[in-house]
């Protein structure tokens, strides 16, 4: 991840700010928009930097500690930089039986990364996930917003080709 530049200073873009303010008005209590606000930032940046808690808290009128509490609770809010594409491999019971380990092996072979790691070219981040609701097609995985079933060690390499 050496090619990713972290900055200490965090400023919401105008678009992010506008989207959060828009979202906030959908709720009686602005606090309820915490998760959406974090998703908006993640959408724009791929992940949620530390300074976002202060910036979001300021808009919603709640303490940064509350925003940070939500941001750290959910595993799908990323608190470290991630690659351009996220691979989520299901490791729940059905996929485990269905051969999720071989899928992981296929990814390991193709990309040379372990779960939790990002490729050196910053193209993929590999993450475990617990159940994609796709148990009838185990083993399953997701790449970004696309779900795939009956994946094998061989087929996974081809799938990855579609995500430059």
């Amino acid at each position: 991840m050496s090619n990713l530049i972290k900055t200490d200073r965090f400023v919401l873009s105008d678009a992010e700010r506008a989207a959060i303010e828009e979202e906030m008005h959908h709720y009686e209590d602005p606090r309820a928009a915490s998760i959406e606000a974090l998703k908006i930032v993640q959408q724009a940046r791929g992940w949620v930097p530390d300074g976002a808690a202060d910036a979001i808290g300021e808009i919603l009128g709640i303490p940064a500690s509350d925003v940070e509490g939500v941001a750290t609770f959910y595993s799908q809010i990323f608190r470290q930089p991630v690659g351009r594409h996220i691979i989520r491999v299901c490791d729940s019971m059905t996929c485990f039986i269905g051969g999720h380990e071989s899928v992981l092996d296929g990814i390991r072979t193709t990309l040379g990364i372990e779960p939790g790691q990002t490729t050196a070219d910053n193209r993929f981040t590999l993450l475990p996930v617990c159940c994609l609701g796709n148990c009838d097609k185990a083993p399953a995985l997701m790449i970004d917003d696309d779900t795939f079933g009956n994946v094998t060690a061989d087929s996974v390499a081809a799938l990855l080709e579609d995500y430059p």
Binding site: D29, D50, A53, D54, P63, A64, S65, D66, E68, G69, T72, F73, Y74, S75
Partner: protein
């Protein structure tokens, strides 16, 4: 009431309680973590499981969480049931999976709720063999140490810090077994009540950092029931001592005052007791000659013999010491040691709370009021414990909403959920922003005179027969109407004001509002803040004395040559009056004798300095702002560790001096004698003898132990001086022994409890065992007696002052208070000094723009004939025409309501 059956026995309990409260109130031990008497139930930890049966014939039963189950009539439960016991043992085993085996190096050890509960459940074997999760700890500032590995995730800390105390910067992060309690990033915990985390946390995540460097176990300390001297609130404390140093201050439960919580000044401001530069032996300043007690008394008597003596007392000294000074110099020549304006204001407040139309709420009772008007006080800085109580008044709305929906008040998560942040109305009128503004329905800023006018307008809006305020702006009139409406709509409205701004018209406005509320038949209360720990006591003592007893009057009299000698008790006059006047008086006096426990600028100028005790080495009585006389007791005898230390109570010095002058042996050899003499001379203080049991009080023939029975190392304590262990110091003044010998349990009812301990309960949760019901009041009654509940009489309407209109080119100087820094003694404590602001001059944004200065720019200004240079602090809320100066910080002269600044400009560098 409800009848419940616990393990086959029948009990009568309060049906509004949950089963955990009910069992604990009965004295039955049920282990628990997340529940706390002041925080209610959330059912997070599952530790308090008991078995509940549907009726007497049910033999199977089911496990329930006792903290989440109402104690309904005809409940059948079992604590001892094998399945319930096994469940509780499992719960604690899970909680302990990631808890380190570091009790020997953990500063919670010995007063740890987790230790107590682990022993109680019988979990004594660790089966978990794997790695434990670890966390990075944070630097939370000078007060609190952080060790997250010990966390059992009970959530008490955030529930206390955020929900109860209104803090924003402590949160909970992460999920599952990696939950983290801390700040978003390292930094000082912002809440003024952060110290309570050390007692709220059931284990060693948050511990007292001020105790850390010279640490010892709770069982190795001597304690005494004491009273905080940090402000006029009168919180009860348990200071702990080892090797002649105060090591820690713990909360002491008083169900009518502070119950479970203290402010950080009170908890962490004790360091002045341990200062090495304290006067320890009588000292002739000029020759730097120190001497023994008899020589000092002879010296003093020689200096005072045939002299006309004036005595200056102190609102930070005990009634007994002030009384002894009055006896020494005579009633006519005894002065209060308070500034003229302050004394007059405190006297007006005394009159108002003793005979005014409304009773004074105790601090605990403040929480039960449902609409509050704070007039002119920045409570978080001037009487912090009241600010914490007001947060509970505001939060009372949630309980009310919940109860209307049939939700029990202890059902904390449900109560908060249904209330959605609804608060009872709190109105704050102050000169600058306050740390309570976040709960205010409306907060308004104005100069003191305009605040008073708002107060008068509120009184008029409540009762039109109260005088109206001429020329009031429409917005102020409307605000007054809204405040009046809220107070009238409330079941129990509360008015809080005080003497902090030095404005008499604010007190008059408070009196008018009180009268108006009474006229409208409201069940209302009042609470008035006075400046210091014993301001109220001194005011009562001087209530029947004619003439001006202020510091200025005293100093003028000395300068005019009406006296030869000046005896000053625990008072730094440079904090009270203009330094030129003090210099002149100290120079004019032929003899200056100072009795104090700190090396103050006044003590520096004494001919003879006598070393007085602080609250830690002496006994005495204070009267708090509610008129509650409370006794503080000596924690330790410094002479035991070092016989060269000749610290004595102020009253002992002054009485001995008087009798040396008279050529008589001393009459008062114990505290009870001086307290009784004081009560006899001052009928208004007659109640003080009842403030605490006298020295002859015994339980089962025993004195009460100051130290826990496990106290260790006593034999070796003085081995560096002599291997022969001397007899323990004897205490003629109190029923307490300087020893672990004596009564220390909870079985027998008593008010004065040096430290909370009961078999199996070493943590502060041991207070359960002393209470009539958990979180209620002490079984023996809460300590102290109220002196000022006199006949209630109507007051004559006061007239509002003119609107604030500063003369061109002048600014009224308003005092701005700081919890850390404005109080003289705690400001000498090193941890407090780390939190003190730098001296500054505060001014409104518009004023700064006009002067063309930015935040931090150095400003020059004239205050009378004094020139000050201070960095600017720009306030967005301070009104125009005033500047604020931080009370008591270095270089800031004493302020009065008439202090006016001129010639403010940017200083040329």
């Amino acid at each position: 009431m409800a009848t419940i059956h616990v393990d086959g026995k029948q009990y009568e309990v309060d049906g509004a309680d949950n089963l955990l409260q009910a069992c604990l109130s009965l004295g039955l031990d049920v282990p628990y973590f997340c529940w706390h008497p002041a925080l209610g139930s959330v059912g997070a930890c599952r530790q308090c499981a008991v078995k509940q049966y549907s009726d007497e014939n049910d033999t199977r039963g089911r496990l329930v969480m006792s903290c989440m189950t109402p104690a309904t009539d005809n409940s059948w439960i079992s604590i001892d049931d094998e399945e319930a016991k096994a469940f509780r043992a499992s719960v604690i085993e899970w909680l302990m999976i990631n808890h380190p085996h570091d009790c020997p190096v953990c500063e919670e050890g010995g007063h740890c709720h987790l230790q107590d509960m682990t022993v109680m459940t019988g979990h004594n074997q660790r089966r978990y063999r794997f790695s434990k999760r670890t966390h990075v700890n944070q630097d939370l500032g000078p007060f609190i140490a952080h060790e997250m590995n010990r966390c059992i995730a009970c959530y008490r800390c955030v529930r206390y810090y955020k929900d109860y105390a209104g803090g924003t910067d402590l949160g909970v992060f992460g999920a599952h077994d990696e939950v983290y309690f801390g700040r978003v990033e390292d930094g000082v915990l912002e809440s003024e009540f952060s110290g309570n985390l050390t007692e709220v946390c059931p284990t060693g995540v948050f511990t007292d950092k001020t105790h850390s460097e010279r640490y010892n176990r709770k069982w190795d300390m001597q304690f005494a029931p004491s009273i905080c001297h940090g402000c006029s609130a009168g919180c009860n404390i348990s200071p702990g001592e080892r090797y002649g140093e105060i090591r820690r201050i713990e909360n002491r439960f008083n169900g009518s005052v502070n119950h479970y919580f203290l402010c950080d000044r009170g908890r962490f401001g004790y360091g002045y007791v341990n200062r090495k530069d304290r006067p320890q032996r009588p000292l002739l300043q000029r020759s730097r000659l120190s001497m023994g007690i008899d020589a000092a008394l002879d010296q003093a008597a020689g200096l005072l013999n045939r002299q006309r003596i004036l005595g200056i007392g102190s609102p930070r000294a005990s009634l007994e010491s002030n009384f002894a000074l009055r006896e020494l110099v005579g009633a006519e020549d005894f002065y209060s040691g308070m500034a003229r304006e302050e004394l007059a204001n405190v006297n007006a407040i005394r009159e108002l709370i003793q005979h005014g139309p409304l009773p004074t709420a105790s601090i605990r009772d403040i929480e039960n009021h449902d609409a509050v008007f704070v007039l002119g006080e920045d409570l978080t800085q001037t009487a912090a414990r009241i600010a914490l109580a007001l947060r509970q008044s505001a939060r009372g709305k949630a309980t009310e909403i919940a109860e209307a929906a049939g939700i029990q008040s202890w059902h904390q998560a449900a109560v908060q959920n249904i209330a959605q942040g609804a608060l009872n109305p709190v109105f704050i009128a102050s000169v600058d922003s306050t740390r309570l503004d976040d709960i205010a329905a409306e907060a308004v800023r104005a100069a003191p005179a305009d605040l008073a006018r708002l107060g008068f307008a509120v009184a008029h809006a409540i009762d039109p027969s109260a005088p109206a305020v001429d020329g009031l702006e429409a917005d102020a009139r409307e605000l007054a109407g809204r405040i009046a409406e809220a107070l009238l709509a409330a079941r129990r409205p509360l008015l809080v004001s005080g003497a902090s701004l030095g404005s008499r018209s604010l007190i008059d406005a408070a009196a008018n509002i009180a009268q108006a509320l009474k006229n409208r038949g409201k069940d209302a209360s009042i609470s008035m803040v006075v400046p210091e720990a014993n301001s109220m006591g001194l005011s009562i003592m001087l209530a029947d004395e004619p003439g001006d007893r202020s510091v200025e009057a005293a100093l003028d009299a000395v300068v005019e040559g009406r006296y030869d000698a000046l005896v000053i008790l625990e008072n730094d006059l440079y904090r009270r009056a203009d330094s030129q006047l003090v210099d002149a008086a100290l120079a004019a006096a032929k003899v200056v004798i100072v009795v104090d426990h700190q090396q103050t600028p006044t003590a520096d100028k004494a001919h003879l300095l006598l070393p007085a005790s602080s609250f830690a080495e002496g006994d005495g009585t204070l009267v708090s702002l509610e008129g509650r006389a409370q006794r503080f007791f000596q924690v330790f005898e410094p002479g035991y560790y070092n016989p060269d230390v000749l610290i004595r109570e102020g009253w002992r010095w002054l009485h001995a001096l008087r009798h040396t002058l008279l050529g008589k042996p001393v009459d008062w050899t114990s505290l009870d004698q001086v307290t009784a003499a004081c009560a006899a001379v001052h009928p208004r203080l007659a109640g003080i003898t009842e403030a605490a049991p006298d020295a002859s009080f015994r339980i089962k023939g025993q004195k009460l132990a100051r130290a826990p029975h496990r106290y260790s190392g006593r034999t070796a304590m003085r081995a560096n001086i002599s291997v022969h262990e001397p007899r323990q110091p004897q205490d003629p003044d109190s029923p307490f022994a300087f020893s672990m010998e004596g009564y220390s349990g909870a079985g027998q009812d008593r008010q004065q409890i040096p430290f909370a301990w009961s078999p199996g309960w070493n943590s502060p949760q041991a207070w359960n065992k002393f209470q009539d019901e958990v979180g209620g009041h002490l079984r023996a009654g809460d300590p102290g007696v109220r002196l000022l509940d006199g006949a209630r009489m109507d007051v004559d309407w006061a007239q509002p002052p003119a609107a604030f209109a500063p003369a061109a080119g002048t600014w009224q100087v308003v005092p701005l208070y700081h919890l850390f820094g404005s109080e003289e003694n705690s400001a000498r404590a090193e941890p407090i000094q780390q939190r003190m602001p730098q001296p500054y001059v505060a001014l409104a944004e518009a004023e700064a723009q006009r002067l063309g200065v930015t935040d931090g720019a150095m400003l020059a200004l004239s205050l009378g004939d004094r020139q000050l240079q201070l960095p600017a602090r720009i306030s967005s809320e301070l009104p125009l025409g005033v500047i604020g100066l931080p009370v008591g910080l270095p270089g800031i002269p004493p302020l009065t309501a008439a202090s006016v600044a001129t010639g403010i400009k940017e200083a040329t560098r």
